[in-house]
Amino acid sequence: MDKKLGVYLCCGCSIGEAVEVDALVNVAQSESKPAVCRSHSFLCGDEGLSIIRGDVGAGVNTLVIAACSPRAKTDRFTFGPLIPMERVNLREQVAWSHQAKHEDTQALAEDCLRMGIAKAAKMEPLEPVADAISRTILVVGGGVTGIGAALDAANAGFDVVLVEKEAQIGGFMAGMKKTFPARAPFTEASAGGITAKIQAFNSHPRIKVFRSTRIAKTEGQPGMFDVTLEVNRDVTLEGGETTTTHRVGSIVMATGWKPYDASKLTALGYGLPNVVTNVELEKMAAKGIIVRPSDRKPVKRVLFIQCAGSREKEHLAYCSSVCCMSTLKQAEYLREQDHDAEVYIVYRDIVTPGPYESYYQKIQDHPLTFFMKGKVTNVNKGPDNSLLVSFDSELLGGPMQVAVDLVVLATGMVPNSADGPAIRALRDAHAKALRNESATQLDEAQKTIAQLQHHDSTEILNLTYRQGPDLPVLSDGFPDSKFICFPYESMRTGIYAAGALRAPMDSVLAEEDAAGAVMKAIQSIELATQGQAVHPRSGDLSFPSFFLQRCTQCKRCTEECPFGALDEDAKGTPKFNPYRCRRCGICMGSCPERIVSFKNYSVDMIASMVKAIEVPDEFSEKQRILVFACENDAYPALDMAGDVTNNVTDKARRHYDPSVRIIPLRCLGSMNIVWIADALSRGIDGVLLLGCKFGDDYQCHFIRGSELANRRLDNVKETLQRLQLESERIQLVQVGIDEYRRLPQIIDEFAGRIREIGPNPYKGL
């Protein structure tokens, strides 16, 4: 395609008062010879836009819009995926942030324009990929969440394949006597369980269910997962087969929970004859009358121990959310079977959020139900099959002992998950041990195996992903997102966890959670159909392409992709799965051979932007600083800094150093260190990287982009040493989007330090 570049400069919103726009037009015309270069006093107005559209109609096919931030007037400056467009931010990051009519501000504006033109010159139009996308959703798990998800997907017009490992569907709910109050006035536990749901499920024409079945293999990517199901040996499918393969578009994982292993709670008496868990009590209640297991005698005095294994660092650090309500419900069972039974509940905090408070008040109102804030110290056998429970009562300020017939441990919820990356690491270690290359390697591999052995054969999805067969999980096993605003964010595109697998929750919330996960699963299918990315770059049509002839099989990209988009062949060559991709560019940043490019974002494009910066010679005393800013947080924060400055009277106080040249990156993780080497070898004095916070409470929208960028800086240090440059010339700062008032100071401090270090000796070489 012949490039016909149109460059448009806006003079409005004080751009015209801050810089000489005519001089900018000259820069564009003399240096880049665009087909068209125009300035306008109100480019986003109807007239301005119709001029641009007219030029596009006359053959201009690439646009540079030098006006406000790309975050402003987005809907106005929209010309479709076939017209590459680069926005040059002359308003928020030039006119509003720097001294008007100053030569440094002018130089900054000129460089911004040069950078934008340099990038646009290499950008290509985007055409969506188009493949046959499956509109079937796989639901893994047939408990309350899975059944809800299957019905929700089917009722939204999607076909469903549901896999349940047990012979029956219904999960825990099917074995319960009653469930928590589900509707106002929230004082009555509901009977009936999920029978009605199961009926609707069984008769739905869109739902196909496989019981006693496991997933042998999940290959492919969103829109085209090929799932191989394997039925237990004692069951056979039509025609005597034991495996079937299904193509599905997305997956809802609803494998639920298991009770915390009570054998770890011997300190609370588990193992003694009349100590049971809440799950065991529920089974007893569902069958009929609650009795003392040792002698089948009716129970008169029962004590519940709350947080049995929950809220304890050595057991489960989290609160299991449902145990208080479960105990209240079971206290009511006891009350129903014996009006005069004494029920003791030893608790730390009664957690009955929202309307459940009404249920708590109802149970609390009974005179023979005793709520005792305290901590159980021991449970011992007493006379006549009784149990003696000692606890520190906070209410009475000292130790107390109660003799009871039955002790119930309110044990918590543990997710039925598999840790994909850990399983992968275990497999790698086994392979390494087999290779037996050196004594140290063998030793190391064996240590890993010992550490990760408990992950052996825990696979659920059996994904054929290079990064492991299941979703990554948090340290406590929940495959939950760490995003408050985006709880369904998944590190495996098209696969969404729901219900008690994702976080401890009751059945009411689990059904709602299933609906949310189905929404995301549907969305993933709809967006894949259009070749578009899912959140956070929703709508993006660009894809990375890999120039494999130059690949050295270093595996960095396949290891670093947070979404497992890249598999490997036997040699280690990356195999790209476009529908798994989130378009963050982390692979592009990771590649030492620079073989990863998007049509509108590439190593070459950013390198060209760096090269477009005019670096004054060493005698001018003008330094130049390159800033790579994360497009999601740091870059908006820079805009906000400009906006704040534009709206105060003492603007000068908030102006920041005009020697900075800011380049937005899709994610700081897409930063390729070659750009830093390029910048330094061209005489740029310092490079500042602005990325999201990383660590446990990471804020990076691509999970670990900023952290990876930080790791890559170790390699940059080698470059610096080779060039004999000070390591302080490169700095990564973690900034939140709300730190916009601090950004001018961060920039000025960095610029000041670079000034102290002195000019880069490579200027002019």
């Binding site: 409005g12 007037k73 987005t74 309307p355 009404s358 605003c485 709809e526 947080d633 409470d697």
Partner: protein, 425 residues
Amino acid sequence: MPDTDVINNRQTPILVIGGGIAGLTAAIELAEAGRHVILIEKSAYLGGRVAASNLYFPKLCPPSCGLEINFKRLRTNPRVTVLTLAELEKLTGASGDYEATIKIAPRYVTDACTLCGACQDACPAEIADEFNFGLTRTKAIHTRRPAAFPAAYVVNRFACPTGCNACADACTYDAIKLDQVETHRTYRVFSVVVATGWAPYDAAKLDNLGFGKCANVVTNVVMERLASTEGPTGGKILRPSDGKPPKSVAFVQCAGSRDRKHLPYCSTVCCSASLKQTTYVRKSCPEANVTIFYIDLRTAGHLQEFADKVCADDAIELVKGKVGKIEEDPQTKALRVTVEDTISGKKTTRNFDLVVLAAGIVPRTANLPPSLSLDEFGFVASNASVGIFSAGCVKRPAEVSATVRDATGAALKALQVAVGVTQHG
């Protein structure tokens, strides 16, 4: 963008009422699943209560981070029509075929606005900034910083001096139309998501707790503004009476909640919110001690780990007890807090420089479709048979991530109605 119509008649929208995090989420999720959406918001800007919050628990990350992504998703998605200053006036019809009439109050500023700020500089009329609970001043023509959606100013016409045209004269872009009038628009919609959110319980009704009478008794929602860099104190926690950093701060939990005389339910979020605000105090005033008076500390799920982390600080004391009375020392404006310690059973009195009332969540249910009924607490459950689904705090008290989860699910239910119509209707 090519918009492949998989099912006929996809253009009919779904109505989402409320532009807070719940409504915003429902609208965007529907649009990204290929549906058209009318999103109406009563105020001039989207973002609701989260936009007024300083940080989210438990990550202590800024709400503007997620709003930025969501606003970007909105800006680049042509399927959502956002109407601000808009309320549902009438809803007729039935599930799958509703006619919704929307009343839109004049903004007096068109989408030609560039947020350049010239109008605000020219405006002679100062008003109290409601966004900061009247603790700061703004102009009659104003916007919301740092990020406003829609990116346009708004005029409070009641504050304009008679005949004043200063803002319109200052606008280079002809974006200010002071003669705009109220308009009404009617849309055919498949289904409705109600996400009208919540309001804090009116702390003045808790007459024993001194709100409105004692200068240094504030609510948790005001605390969010005090902690914000755009708030009245630039992010410093200072005593309203004298602008000095407090040395002792008390949080009074269940201020209105779990109280049959006020809100019989638990507002769910206040425990975690107070723990979060404790970190504001400790960061802004490292000298200050914090006491949290509570009945039960309700930090379900992973919030427990947040509570453990915050409470590991020696300067924080948890006292199980119900605050019965708060009085002000007329000279020092210090607060005498009388507490019944449920553990010792004794009534004790302690002095604090600042008291924060953890006010509960009250659902906002004005102007809802008549086919919805309120439960005895005033919350609204979804009604699938009429194709109207509630989401977020209008349904039950919930923290942000639970609200987003719920709104995503409600979006699915609303979508099912649309699918039902297009496949069978």
